[in-house]
Amino acid sequence: MAGVLQRRRGAVALTPPRLNRALESLRRWREAGVYLVPIRHHSPGCSRALTALLHEVRPTTILIEGPREYTALLGALGDAATRPPIAVLSIADDRSAFYPLADFSPEWVALRWGTSHGADVDFIDQSWAARSDDDPGAAVRTLQAEHHLARSTAIAALASQLGCRDHDEVWEHLFELRDATQADDWRTFTAEVLAWAALARLEADREVLDADGTHAREAVMAAMLARHRATAEGPIVVVTGAFHTLALLEAMDDTPEGRWVTGRDPGPLEVERPAWLIRYDHTRLDGLRGYGAGMPAPGFWHRAWQGQPTADGGRALTIEVLLDVADRVRADGGLLSSAEVTAAGEHALQLAAVRGRAWPGRTDLTDAMLTCFVHDDTGLSGALGAAIDTVFAGTILGEVPPGVAAPPLVAEARALAQQHRFVVTDATSHRVSLDTHRSPKHRARREFLATMRFLNLGFCRQLGGPDLIAGSNLGSLFEEWDYAWTPMVEAALIEASSRGATLAELRRRAVAELLYDEAATAATVTRLLTELVLMGATAELAPVLTALRQCYDTDSSLASLTASLTRLLVLRAEAGRYSLGEADAQVAALIQAGLDAAAFQLLPLADVDADGAGAACEAIVSLHSVVRRLDARPSELSDLDAADTHAVHRELTRLREARRAPARLHGCLVALASTTGEIVQVALEAEIGAHLNVGTDPDRVAGFLLGLMQAAPDVILHNPDVLELLNARLGDFDEEAFLRILPDLRLAFTWLRPSETASVATHVATLTGASVAQLDAVLHLDPALAAKAWDVERSLVTSLRDDGLLALMGGQP
């Protein structure tokens, strides 16, 4: 049995003694009627070998790696109406985990064979509640994590030796893409899977496995196996992750390493804890990959499991997948010819042959599509990338039998609402006023309300008081909310259960979805940050802060960047209403990154057209106010000493000096520069004079004035000379030119308050030699003429009504 992996491309030359003993033990226990089946979760290759084994061995006992409490769900799992993909949901304290099963999962194959053949089926892993949390802060957890395999340096070395990209490809190469004879030879298959997992197992120190709870779990598995060995009357099949098989063998053989496991107290073996069977889908199964479980591309492996790729060297499967991808690309408006699809098919088959695989796998297909469908250097992106993702992830949704227990999210939300003294015994609307600045209890209540609002459950809304999301009413003390526990809230919670088992988990998922949304901008991510802070979820800020940092590098909209910066400043200024926790320092660093990003986006504004100039001015004005605020360093921002606004000032100057910029933008920048003293009065007047010079294009005059007024109306108000100049210049225009720019002029003066308008008007009147009174438009009307008109109107209406015509005219009959 030495060098079991050597057969395929000369991979592993040395077999460690501990592995040699385990391989020998595997064979010996088999002869004694105990069949250990090491598997990788969601591996069709393992399922195929396991099926062959079950048909040959016909066990009376089947033991499966899964929490002890799942044994109570065997009825529902074995029900004919249950169709994978499904998942068992476990909840303990405030964390939950999924145990998903696809039709090609070995655990599913084993348990369905057992329930339909009358075998004694049992789940033998430690209860989820007793397990230590190996991935704190994860949005989703899976009970089938394979972190050790993913992190193994030996498997990584094997990957580089085999020319594979990662451990997933190594697995496919060695175990999935076999021909029929090899795939059904379960004796060799199980030995080789054991050897593969041992690469990672033998690297892991005892302390690591003690600390991450692996040994504790294996103690339970070993104890359960011992118990069944004592009572079973026929062959026993034990289906566990391959990483554990070595430990179970050593435990049965009572080797020194085996005692690391058997020497521990397994704790109570009879566990009664609730667990829930829920529908699942391939897309979410694929999503668990990020959390360390299972093989990528369940959609592809589902097809491989349903079809028989070994029968025709994978031809039918390859064509089916390629055509499906091509259909989706075409439906999306992409062009893929039949010749290209054919070429990709041939390419995939040849790649598999060159790589020594019996049929083309996931990577062969993606490689073939990369070669044959992409005619430049963009890779598998755009419509093609999306189509491949969809086809490989799969779209199938599972079924659970009617009548299975509803998930506990409803009860959790209800209990929390009561704990925070919200009325949930009636469905009427209630109003609360919360002093979040001073009362920690009120703050906790607000956190609950903010969570329910964020999850869109229709429970509550904020009516008034300081609104940090909108950035309004920041001066007021009390937050005003109303809420109602209606049946719709309960329905929304049941609906939401498929996305997450607890409110915290739903929130983490929603956050992850918002962050991965392609439309995410600096402004939307900062809004999300604010919402999380309001919800008191400071422990979950890290990914949002990271995403925001990335947005600063990808977001090209100055408006969005500025909105983000404004929100961050509000967040720092209002810090008395919540805790920013450890994120505080990072927010300060983000403000710096945001400033640099905003500085970077300034110069391209020189090329905006006249239509975009208004929005550009608006963004510049708000950026300027952010910068002024930081430069002034009010007390609540005093620790932002590091904030360096130099880059923004520098780029604002460059933009102001860029002569090609639209007049409105230029006016805006000149006005802003004058408010900070960056350009002195004389220079300001020179600038304005240059723009109001005789012969200047009227549109440019109007644009400049618009920008000036939008940024700082004071420039006009407090500079009589400027007003005189403007007045003189406007008087020079002929009527046609004046009428053309009149709408812009009107708009420009709307930035003045009524009293300011009056002051300007007075001054202009003085300049033109008119009196203020003359400027007021007064209509003089002869009262006799008005009375006559009224008489005519009345008789006309009477006549129309008499003729029944009034309704036709649109009046009241």
């Binding site: 020319g163 060159v354 790589r355 073939a368 250097d377 590098d553 990154a593 990003a597 970077f600």
Partner: protein, 362 residues
């Protein structure tokens, strides 16, 4: 010993090729028609096979090598694209040497490449003396590759005008070349083993577009730059020694590190710690890094104190950037604001770089 500066791959690695051919013969591996080695042996030649003493020659992307070999088995040509300095030509040379036993059937594309270079031309003395004859015909590398069933390499295909590139379209689809001067039926046809490996640069300045018809006849593979910074440092040091001799001004390691890091950041679009960086349009290849190092060394020798400082690197880097567009200058300014300023807090070299770069904008 040969006095050839750089012998072709089939000579440099003759022993390895022989060993691989020997193993093919011993194992009875299937060899495609016209090929000298089996596809697996070609793969081993490129990415190495320690058991047979075959060295690894191409680093970083083994699946790409698989795809390239499979492409050459089919009807489509192989187009290697990517930035300058990514070993596209070396890969094409290795594949040609392993598959056809020769890597010298090569067209070196340029703006001056004509149709004659791709099809055939004439020995005009003979043409005038004898009229059109096989003796007077001068076959191109493509012609020779077709007639002998070997691979032809077309380097820098996008440097040729599109109408010249398109000469390949009919050759690739019909796999024959008409010779009307030698009679109505005269033609040369491709024997098994014939195919084309082209290399191209899609983004550099001064390159031409490729027609859709030509693109359809090639499978594209993008060769990515090497991401190993210590390897790049080694390459630049070697180039400096070769260019300026051993008496060159000293480039202290921290300064070299600034150079390599700045280039890697701007080329890769991200720093080693994951901070995203906006990539300029200018080519930030290893070759450009060498240019910056040479120019900085010159400045240090003739204008400075004989040792290269990070400030000189910054000044020369700005030269590289400003050679491009105003947009590139803006991108590098942002890089200085966003990345360099932070580093300047903790490193003297980066501080020098920052100060020098700041002074260059106004």
């Amino acid at each position: 010993m040969t006095d050839e500066l750089r012998p072709p791959a089939e000579h440099r690695y003759a022993a390895e090729l022989a060993a691989l051919a020997g193993r093919d013969a011993a194992t009875g591996a299937a060899i495609p028609p016209g090929w000298r080695l089996s596809p697996k042996a070609v793969r081993a030649f490129t990415i190495g096979d320690p058991q047979l003493g075959v060295s690894r020659k191409f680093y970083g992307d083994d699946p790409l090598v698989d795809r390239a070999i499979v492409s050459l088995l089919g009807r489509q040509g192989l187009m290697l694209v990517g930035e300058p300095g990514t070993a596209k030509s070396m890969l094409s040379e290795l594949l040609a040497a392993a598959i056809s036993g020769t890597s010298t059937l090569t067209i070196q594309g340029s703006a001056g490449t004509t149709e004659d270079h791709i099809r055939y031309s004439w020995n005009y003395a003979l043409l005038i003396a004898e009229g059109p004859s096989e003796r007077a015909l001068v076959p191109s590398p493509v012609f020779q590759a077709m007639a002998s069933g070997r691979l032809v390499r077309f380097e820098e295909i996008t440097r040729c005008p599109p109408e010249i590139q398109d000469t390949l379209v009919s050759i690739l689809s019909e796999k024959q070349l008409m010779l009307p001067e030698l009679g109505d039926e005269a033609r040369v046809w491709a024997r098994p083993g014939f195919n084309v490996i082209a290399t191209a640069n899609l983004r550099d300045r001064g390159v031409h577009e490729m027609s859709a018809a030509l693109k359809r006849r090639f499978n594209f593979e993008t060769v990515r730059p090497i991401r190993d910074r210590s390897f790049e440092t080694q390459l630049i040091t070697q180039a400096l020694d070769a260019e300026l001799g051993p008496q060159r001004p000293l480039v202290p390691m921290p300064v070299m590190d600034v150079l390599v890091t700045a280039f890697a950041d701007l080329r890769g679009g991200t720093t080693a710690t994951g901070t995203p960086v906006k990539r300029p349009d200018a080519v930030m290849s290893t070759a450009e890094a060498v240019n910056v190092a040479i120019a900085s060394s010159m400045a240090a020798r003739y204008l400075g104190d004989g040792t290269v400082h990070a400030g000189e690197i910054a000044q020369q880097l700005v030269g590289i950037a400003l050679k491009g567009s105003e947009d590139d200058a803006r991108l590098i300014r942002h890089y200085v604001d966003n990345v360099v300023r932070e580093r300047a807090r903790g490193s003297r070299e980066w501080r020098e770089f920052f100060n020098a770069a700041e002074g260059l904008w106004r």
